[in-house]
């Protein structure tokens, strides 16, 4: 049954998103719209040297897009730029079925999404926003 897509983990991140909010004067500030459905996300990140010291997100969207954004913020704090880029690439690989999901992370709960191609863009929205933010920083 597809209701399995909406696991406790996803619903928990959706109803109680981690790191939800805004950061005034953030080093990275990227807004992205999903033209398919009008959902939107804004990513804020503060760097300490090369390391992500803080990440927050705001916006509105479906359970998948919001839960995925919440999980992303937890996963990327404390990582270097290079590590963040690798994480984003790996996550996108997971969503296209090229990479395995980590067993020991909440991200594993998003595995069910890959059966629903129209929802993959919901799951990758926040990650793409972070990636664009990094690219713009150069």
């Amino acid at each position: 049954m597809m209701r399995e897509l909406y696991t406790q983990v996803i619903m928990d991140h959706y109803k109680r998103p981690r790191n939800h909010g805004e950061i005034e004067g953030a080093d990275l500030h990227e807004h992205l719209l999903n033209p398919l459905c009008g959902d939107e996300v804004t990513i804020y990140a503060v760097f300490d040297g090369d390391t992500v010291a803080d990440v927050k997100f705001s916006g509105r969207g479906c359970s998948i897009s919001q839960a995925s954004a919440s999980m992303m913020t937890e996963r990327l704090v404390g990582k270097s730029r290079e590590e963040v880029e690798r994480e984003i690439g790996e996550f996108k690989g997971m969503m296209t079925g090229e990479k395995d999901f980590p067993e020991d992370d909440d991200l594993a709960a998003l595995k069910g999404v890959i059966q629903y191609p129209s929802r993959i863009r919901c799951a990758t929205l926040a990650w793409t926003a972070f990636q664009r933010g990094l690219e713009e920083q150069g």
């Binding site: 597809m2 897509l5 619903m11 459905c37 009008g38 959902d39 509105r60 479906c62 929802r119 919901c122």
Partner: protein
């Protein structure tokens, strides 16, 4: 006697299952399903008559040309056009509007002219005018909607004036379930010598349409939303206006005489049908029109009105639900939001039960902004939907709401 069970037997796809449940197809505003007669018409064309039309002097070309031109007559008669020379086959409503915006707009619009639209336009009756305005320096003006989704006709009277060159409006809304008073807009436009274009994508499949009593100058519709194949639709225009317009696309068949440095144009409607058209699809659309006429568009409208009102009443019983559009005079479109459940999630949960609805902005982003939402869920009914399907839909929405509410 309108017998839904008998009608349903004509639509093979309605017999299939999705996720182990009988399909409940409620995404008809996006596209309709096809009766056996339309599917068989396509097959028969390819198995027995297929040839390129108009230029061949052989039996198959004659048969294909005759069937194509016969479909043109049927489509023209279906919308009450005085004759079929003003009926141009296109790929659909979007192409039809683009044709007018390009072939009429580029020639007739000047800086300072105004095009009057509404806040509730589908992107296909908005973006072509934005392009025409940018190319000519004309301005766009927008008739606002009132809180219940109906047009503010006092504002319409104020906005339509001596600078207006064209008024373009959706006949029926794919979001709000409204039927707009386009005949009154046509009168206002004509008082100022402006033209009136009616986007009939959501009306031609569902209501009796008579372009002469609407008083419009252009009427656009899509075949696939009215039981026909994808890839075909039409534009009807007043012949005297079409004759003055420049061509839209250049190529084969739209010409009379071609020289290396210039050409002259074929008569209407052929002037606007460049290249090989979607011949089989146009013939299929003719079969769809036959089917609709046989049922009677008054009967179709009455069935959908009853079903739409029933669905509105049943869905209204759900706590906290927001349903968009007026309470009365609705079409079979039902857009709504539940505060607890995002439209995407609702669609997915309903799909699990074999129920197909739409979620998103429905190609009406400005209208979504006006309504203050990013997206809505939308169920849209057609001539083959039943009260039992409405019940299944309402029950599934109720379950989805409970499911999401459970994760407190």
């Amino acid at each position: 006697m309108y017998d839904v069970a008998e009608i349903r037997r004509e639509f093979p796809i309605l017999g299939r299952e999705v996720n182990g449940r009988p399909l409940v197809y409620l995404d008809n505003a996006a596209t309709s399903q096809k009766p056996r007669r339309v599917i068989e018409t396509l097959t028969e064309h390819y198995e027995r008559h297929n040839a390129n039309i108009k230029r061949g002097v052989h039996r198959l070309a004659e048969e294909s040309t005759a069937a194509y031109e016969d479909a043109r007559k049927k489509a023209a008669r279906f919308i009450g056009a005085p004759d079929s020379t003003g009926l141009i086959f296109t790929r659909g409503t979007t192409e039809s509007v683009n044709l007018v915006a390009y072939a009429w707009g580029r020639k007739n619009l000047r800086e300072g002219d105004e095009i009057v639209l509404t806040e509730s336009e589908h992107h296909s009756n908005l973006v072509p005018w934005q392009l025409a305005a940018r190319a000519t320096g004309a301005m766009l003006r927008f008739i606002p909607i009132r809180e219940d989704g109906t047009l503010d006709m006092d504002e319409a009277r104020r906005l339509i004036g001596p600078k207006t060159k064209l008024v373009a409006c959706i006949h029926a809304s794919n979001v709000l379930a409204t039927v707009n008073p386009v005949e009154r807009l046509a009168e206002m436009a004509h008082e100022h010598d402006a033209l009136m274009l009616v986007d009939g994508a959501q009306s031609a499949p569902h209501l009796p349409v008579d372009v002469q009593s609407l008083g419009c100058d252009f009427f656009a519709a899509s075949g696939h939303k009215m039981l026909g194949p994808t890839g075909v639709g039409f534009l009807w225009g007043r012949t005297e206006i079409l004759e003055e317009m420049d061509p839209f696309l250049g190529g084969g068949e739209m010409i009379r005489e071609v020289h290396l440095d210039h050409s002259t144009w074929n008569d209407i409607p052929h002037k606007f049908e460049a290249g090989t058209m979607n011949v089989a699809q146009a013939i299929g659309l003719g079969a769809a029109v036959d089917y609709l006429e046989n049922l009677g568009m008054d009967n179709v409208r009455e069935h959908e009105r009853r079903l739409g009102e029933y669905a509105y009443r049943r869905l209204s019983e759900i706590e906290d639900i927001v349903i968009y559009g007026p309470k009365q005079g609705r079409t079979g479109v039902l857009s709504f939001n539940l505060p607890e459940v995002h439209p995407h999630d609702l669609s997915q949960l309903l799909d699990e039960e074999g129920i197909a609805i739409r979620s998103g902005h429905h190609c009406c982003q400005p209208l979504m902004r006006r309504l203050g939402v990013a997206a809505t869920s939308r169920a849209s009914f057609y001539l083959y939907n039943t009260q039992e399907e409405v019940d299944a839909f309402v029950a599934a929405v109720t379950r989805a709401r409970e499911f999401f509410g459970a994760f407190a």
